[in-house]
């Protein structure tokens, strides 16, 4: 089963490269697709809708939640879009070149669960609506669905499943959208690779897992990442380490490192103040290093060594945190396997400073 | 009738070459009878086979009534055997599926020289009158050899080649059969070359020759 899923995954992510190189697509030249250029301002709600001229795109929600006992929970729901070829106006329906993939993951105090789905575009099985056209936001695949109640992204209800667990989320904005990089232009390498990238780090989340008397209610905060591009990785980039942190003092911090197989890694991020002001963090402003790697079972009959604990420091404000996973086993054994899960943030004294999500990709 | 000059024949056994006949010379007149004596393995049967054209010599020539037996094609030799020769062996080689009558007539039928009167004479002389409708396996060995003799004689061959014809019989019947045989050969005007190791049998013949070291020597 693994192998076939890997194939389907390649279909979504890498038409031109071999199956093993699952991130290859992100490095592809993207010829014939629209290119990401600086100086183009994002427009809402239009940019919540798909950008089919670009090769890849995602709607990526993570949520750090707590139950009544105060235990940590986490949720991830992602919709990926991929164009197999530059779209042509006359090709719709089954002939559409758009393919969709969706991931859902649940981190509970007892363990980590995930599910993956695929669908063809053009036939209505999966997609994202244009708010301007239909009056509400709707992103879905089969019976997984994010639907807003009005002509904005939020408030909205998100329903999905992880295995046989039914999950429903009530999402509300508690702050403004944040354009990452420079006005949403997020550079990914010195060679010019870039994406359009905005986030909604201020989401109040109320979640219900399961039904009936066993239903579990959770509360917490969510973070939506929206990104589209035709070429996001440079040829010498193998993967990334990504952090989205909700600090207890109300700040939000997004930091990522694109790992180069030669020379220095590409570091970038955004420091978001409670007021909504955001500041681009460049390579010199970020100090990121992994402090401990551990080997975990990754479900496909093998194990991987992953840098699971980190030390993150900023030059301005001058602060330093320790980041460690809630627990190690939050591996996404999907077509593109990666680690994505709840992390705890501590300050230099070891006191709790926040929570968040960490994503580690390209560790093969 | 039969003239052999400088006849040589050897056999290869594994890596040993055995010379059986070495420059053998031999003459035989028509209607004469000769006993071919010699130790076992001296090449008596080989000589007989060469004369009948059943085997080919290494060198030398065999002339039978002017024909070169050593070099004629097999089809001509088959013709020669059926028309001019008869072979009598220790094993009687009767055809088990045919009656005695048919066995007697067999070679005559092959060369289409069937003389019913002579057949009657042969049957009477060999005492086979009661056996005619029987099959070979119903006969004693002595009787079977008589049938073989009748078969060999019915077409009145020029030459009869016999290889221990009575070797399978006890002494008494041997003498009896041999007497009949040599008598029949004489009457038919055939020549007889008979391989034997028995002096008693050899005594029936006009001449006796001994094969030793690949050559023949007359025994007086």
């Amino acid at each position: 089963m693994k192998r076939l899923l890997a194939l389907v995954g390649c279909l979504l992510l890498s038409p031109a490269l071999a199956a093993q190189d699952v991130l290859g697509d992100l490095r592809d030249q993207g010829l014939g697709f629209a290119q990401v250029t600086p100086g183009k301002s994002l427009q809402f709600p239009r940019d919540h809708a798909p950008h089919p001229d670009y090769r890849i795109e995602w709607w990526y929600l993570t949520a750090n939640l707590a139950d009544r006992q105060g235990r940590h929970w986490g949720l991830q729901w992602t919709l990926f879009r991929q164009a197999l070829s530059p779209p042509q106006a006359d090709l719709d329906g089954w002939q559409s070149s758009q393919m969709w993939m969706a991931h859902a993951a649940l981190t509970t105090p007892d363990g980590h669960f995930h599910e993956q789905r695929f669908a063809r575009g053009g036939i209505g099985q999966a997609g994202v609506t244009d708010i301007e056209r239909v009056g509400y936001f709707n992103a879905w695949m089969d019976d997984w669905q994010w639907r807003s109640s009005g002509a904005a992204l939020l408030p909205a209800e998100l329903r999905f499943t992880v295995g046989d667990r039914e999950i429903s989320l009530q999402l509300e904005a508690s702050g403004e959208l944040v354009a990452n990089g420079i006005d949403g232009y997020s550079q990914k390498s010195a060679q010019g690779q870039a994406s359009y990238y905005y986030s909604q780090p201020h989401i109040r989340v109320r979640a219900a897992i399961g039904q009936g008397p066993d239903q579990i209610s959770l509360d917490g905060q969510g973070w939506l990442d929206r990104e589209w591009s035709s070429q996001a990785l440079a040829p010498n980039q193998q993967g990334w380490d990504w952090f989205s942190l909700h600090l207890d003092d109300g700040h939000k911090l997004m930091v990522y490192q694109l790992r180069h197989d030669d020379g220095e890694h590409w570091l970038s991020g955004n420091w978001i103040e409670p007021s909504g002001n955001t500041r681009l963090l460049d390579r010199n402003a970020i100090e990121l290093k992994s402090t401990r790697s551990r080997e975990i079972e990754t479900g496909d009959g093998r194990s991987r060594v992953l840098p699971l604990e980190w030390q993150l420091g900023l030059a301005e404000p001058r602060r330093r945190w320790r980041i460690r996973p809630l627990y190690d086993q939050q591996w996404m054994d999907t077509t593109i396997p990666y680690w994505e899960g709840v992390v705890l943030v501590e300050d230099e004294t070891g006191a709790r400073a926040g929570i968040g999500y960490m994503e580690l990709t390209g560790y093969d | 009738m039969l003239s052999i000059k400088q006849l040589s024949k050897s056999y290869q056994y594994a890596d040993v070459r055995q010379n059986v006949l070495q420059g053998l010379d031999f003459e035989m007149d028509a209607e004469s009878s000769i006993a071919l004596l010699g130790e076992s393995g001296s090449g008596k049967s080989t000589l007989l086979h060469l004369i009948a054209g059943l085997d080919r010599p290494d060198s030398g020539e065999i002339r039978f009534d002017g024909r070169r037996v050593d070099s004629e094609p097999e089809s001509a030799l088959a013709e020669m055997r059926r028309e001019q020769l008869s072979l009598v062996f220790q094993q009687f080689h009767l055809i088990s599926t045919l009656t005695i009558t048919d066995n007697i007539r067999f070679q005559a039928a092959l060369c289409q020289r069937f003389d019913p009167q002579y057949e009657g004479e042969l049957i009477e002389r060999l005492g086979l009158g009661d056996q005619l409708d029987k099959y070979p396996y119903q006969l004693s060995r002595g009787q079977q050899q008589r049938v073989a003799i009748a078969r060999a004689m019915l077409h009145k061959p020029r030459l009869v080649l016999a290889d221990e014809p009575t070797g399978n019989l006890d002494e008494a019947s041997s003498l009896e059969v041999m007497g009949l045989f040599s008598d029949l050969v004489k009457r038919a005007g055939s020549g007889l070359l008979m391989v034997t190791h028995s002096q008693a049998m050899a005594a029936f013949m006009d001449r006796r020759v001994n094969l030793h070291n690949g050559r023949l020597a007359e025994i007086e």
Partner: protein, 834 residues
């Protein structure tokens, strides 16, 4: 191993080194027998495994189907709605039936591979650069995944586009296949819709589903759709059982023929090792040691025979499978995997029957030889007597077999029993053969004039050759009988089938376009110039007495309805019965399958489940329905329309005006105008070509088995002749010494051979007729439920005589070459004491 045992074994087995020809024949007999048997077993088990997988589709389990009750297909929007309602077990399928310009029928299956349930993705997919493969599969211009066997058959190369009869092109071919693809071409559903011009799915498949979800799904489905359980694996097993029994029977026959060769070779090996065995015993070897040595020898042969035979079986199965797979698909809609699956069980079974056969053929006679007194010599007189006794015993056994066959004949109720009776019959004939051969020799001897001594001798030499030829002749008899019997069956069937097609398919165009309005077509002024008559058939699919059943509503006054050929009828004449069916309510016509398999006679009443409850109909007649595995009922169309709300169109037949030479072109133009797609209709000639093509494919395997059996019998003959040559070389040499010519010598062998062959051939004619009679009038009816008249022709028998003569000629030629090689030495050894 004890040294003594080693020496015994060495002494015994050295025979096979000394006589490579006989070793070869023993191997050939074993390998051919095991090969033919295991080929069929492999095919049968492979097919059965495929039927079991009918629960799955393209690697995904399909427990249920969602179908349109009116055969109208399923709208895409509905499918999306169901998926969005959470029924992710569903996946859409489109099936298309197309044909190539040369008339090869091809089934296309299309799905959305991304929608298959997770269980669809097993480990069986081969590695490689799939990413590209998949992208190309789902994107225009798409790819057609063609199984290798089908590609080879169509001469289709990687990347080529197959052109269809109506000019459409399939996507570029990719030579590969998924599970359960069988002989079908797999394309993306988008490609299928582009190809067919339809935007509907043929049906939806339902993957593994929980009872709760099933309840919900059933409740959610709109009324015009039905959720039906996938019973295909059960149906297929039931429907195809007879076909597989037929094949098994033929393979066992081949195995038997192979065993005859083994018998032959064994007889020789026995004859030749008489002295060795005797010497061994005189030298003090215990019987049980010899016995063990022989047992070991048997074991070695069985392993050798199985290994090589099985390998041959795999090769044969590979060669035969595509044809059979195509037949199963066209007749039963069974998808047989194109790639062969092998089971170790088949291998074990093959070894089992090989060992059994060998113990019987080799072990037992050798053992018996050992039991004989060590000094008893096998004189020729004694041999002849033994032969005569053996012949009589065998004949007696044959009579017993024949008697059992006769007694059992009346009680045949299953296919297996039928084949057992046939087996008894054939073996009775085979065992009777030696006596008949002896009688034949006596007759020939009696016919030859007394004065023709050499001729009499040649005939009488048959007695000496008989032991060597006996089993070869039995093999030949079986092969000839099978050829004639099965050949007659196939010819009869073909004759009946083609004649029936002519009556049944009298229309010029067959149209399958559910949304085309026939009334509109008839009323249209544009049809007047070419359309003479039409027949719109409707129907439903149901189950009756547990078997898939078709209820058809046909127009009573349509030309083909008026001429429906009946095999049985109520009343005086078929015409009267048809008239009664047309004019009186409550009458039904049933196919022969209903008559033979369900025991329904004209005048009986049958109950059918309708929307208005159970309805009873009186059977007015039974119509021929060749090759149909299903029960079928014919009712007037208005009856079906009123009783089954969800009936659907089964196609429209159009009769053209034959005075109008452009009728066909006009018809096609109008049909296109009315929205029919090319491929929606097919002409009579094409239908017939397809039907007869399917027929011929079905029986291709029979012809192949027949030919192979004949080859095995030919090998048996050659083996016997060479054995005779070996055994009797000194005797032949002696006769050569008497002046026998080479030609006469060949004639000596050929005369009895020809007499024996003539007897076997003569006997095979009535026996073949009997075989075909039982096959046609008993087994075919029990198996398939339809009858046909036996068509006896003498030509095939004459052709077989020709084949036999050619075989004899060839084997004699081979033997005379051997002679030429060996005679000089034999002549040189003449007179030596053996």
């Amino acid at each position: 191993m004890k040294p003594r045992f080693y020496w015994i074994l060495k002494a015994l087995l050295s025979h096979y080194w000394r006589h490579p020809w006989q070793t070869l024949f023993l191997s050939v007999g074993l390998v051919a027998g095991v090969g033919l048997w295991s080929a069929v077993q492999i095919i049968n088990q492979h097919a059965e495994a495929s039927y079991r997988e009918a629960q799955s589709l393209l690697g995904a389990q399909a427990s249920y189907w969602i179908r349109s009750r009116r055969d109208e297909g399923i709208e895409q929007a509905l499918y999306i709605d169901l998926r969005r309602a959470g029924f992710r077990q569903l996946f859409p399928l489109v099936e298309l039936e197309v044909s190539t310009p040369s008339g090869v029928s091809i089934r296309i299956i299309a799905t959305d591979l991304l929608a298959l349930p997770d269980d669809a993705y097993s480990d069986s997919d081969s590695p490689g650069d799939f990413s590209d493969t998949w992208v190309k599969f789902v994107q225009p211009p798409y790819r057609a995944w063609v199984p290798r066997v089908l590609a080879d058959e169509l001469g289709l190369k990687q990347g080529e586009q197959l052109r269809l009869r109506d000019g459409r092109l399939l996507p570029p071919a990719l030579i590969q296949a998924r599970e359960q693809q069988g002989r079908q071409v797999l394309i993306d559903i988008g490609a299928a819709m582009a190809l067919s011009g339809s935007d509907r799915f043929s049906y939806l498949a339902v993957g593994p589903i929980s009872p709760r979800d099933y309840q919900q799904l059933a409740a959610t489905l709109p009324d015009h759709l039905e959720l039906v359980e996938n019973q295909q694996h059960i149906d297929l097993q039931e429907l195809t059982e007879s076909l597989h029994s037929h094949l098994t029977a033929m393979s066992l026959l081949s195995f038997a023929v192979g065993l005859f060769i083994v018998f032959n070779a064994v007889r020789f090996s026995l004859w030749y090792r008489r002295a060795t065995l005797l010497d061994l015993r005189l030298m003090g070897c215990a019987t049980h040691q010899l016995f063990s040595a022989i047992l070991l020898e048997t074991l070695v042969w069985s392993l050798l025979g199985t290994a090589l035979g099985f390998a041959l079986g795999i090769l044969l199965a590979h060669a035969l499978l595509p044809g059979l797979g195509a037949s199963l698909q066209s007749l039963y809609s069974a998808t047989v995997e194109a790639e062969l699956g092998l089971s170790s069980m088949t291998l074990l079974q093959a070894w089992g029957i090989t060992l059994l056969g060998l113990v019987w053929a080799l072990g037992w006679p050798l053992y018996r030889q050992l039991q004989q007194s060590s000094l008893e010599s096998g004189s020729s007189a004694r041999q002849q007597q033994d032969e005569a006794i053996a012949r009589r015993r065998l004949a007696l056994a044959a009579l017993v077999l024949a008697l059992i066959a006769v007694l059992a004949y009346g009680r045949i109720s299953s296919v297996t029993q039928g084949f057992m009776v046939l087996g008894l019959m054939l073996f009775a004939a085979a065992w009777m053969l030696p006596l008949l051969l002896a009688a034949g020799l006596r007759l020939a001897a009696w016919l030859v004039p007394r004065e023709r001594l050499t001729m009499r001798w040649m005939v009488s030499d048959g007695w000496s050759q008989m032991p060597a030829f006996r089993s070869a002749m039995m093999a030949l008899l079986l092969a000839l009988t099978a050829n004639l019997g099965v050949g007659t069956l196939v010819d009869s069937f073909r004759n009946a089938f083609v004649g029936w097609l002519e009556v049944r398919q009298s229309a010029d165009i067959y149209l399958r376009a559910p949304r085309l309005d026939i009334q509109q077509l008839k009323a249209s002024p544009s049809t007047a110039s070419w359309l003479v008559d039409s027949h719109h058939r409707i129907g439903i699919t149901t189950r009756w007495r547990g078997r898939p059943t078709l209820v058809r509503g046909i127009e009573p006054d349509a030309p083909d309805s008026l001429a429906l050929p009946l095999s049985r009828w109520q009343g005086d004449t078929p015409a009267a019965a048809l008239q009664a069916w047309r004019e009186q309510a409550g009458k039904v016509l049933v196919n022969e399958q209903v008559h033979f398999l369900a025991g329904i006679e004209p005048g009986d009443r049958v109950s059918l489940e309708t929307d208005n409850g159970l309805q009873e109909y009186e059977v007015a007649g039974v119509f021929y329905d060749y090759g149909n595995p299903y029960f079928q009922f014919y009712l007037p169309d208005r009856v079906v329309a009123s009783n089954w709300q969800h009936h659907y169109s089964r196609g429209i037949a159009l009769w053209l005006n034959h005075d109008n030479s452009a009728a066909m072109q006009q018809a096609e133009a109008v049909l296109k105008e009315l929205g029919a797609q090319p491929g929606d209709w097919i002409s009579q000639a094409q239908v017939r070509k397809l039907s007869v093509g399917i027929f011929d494919r079905t029986f291709a395997i029979t012809a192949a088995m027949n030919a192979l059996t004949m080859i095995v019998a030919a090998i048996a003959l050659l083996a016997s002749l060479l054995a005779i040559l070996q055994e009797r070389l000194p005797q032949f040499a002696q006769w050569r010494a008497l002046g026998l010519r080479q030609g006469e010598q060949l004639l000596l062998v050929a005369t009895p051979l020809l007499i024996f062959c003539a007897i076997a051939w003569l006997l095979s004619i009535p026996l073949g007729a009997l075989l075909s009679w039982v096959l046609i009038y008993k087994l075919n009816i029990i198996s398939f439920g339809w009858s046909m008249p036996l068509l006896w022709e003498f030509m095939p028998a004459l052709q077989l005589a020709g084949v036999v003569i050619v075989i004899c000629g060839l084997t004699l030629l081979l033997v005379s070459f051997q002679w030429r090689r060996k005679m000089p030495q034999a002549l040189a050894q003449l007179g030596e004491t053996v």
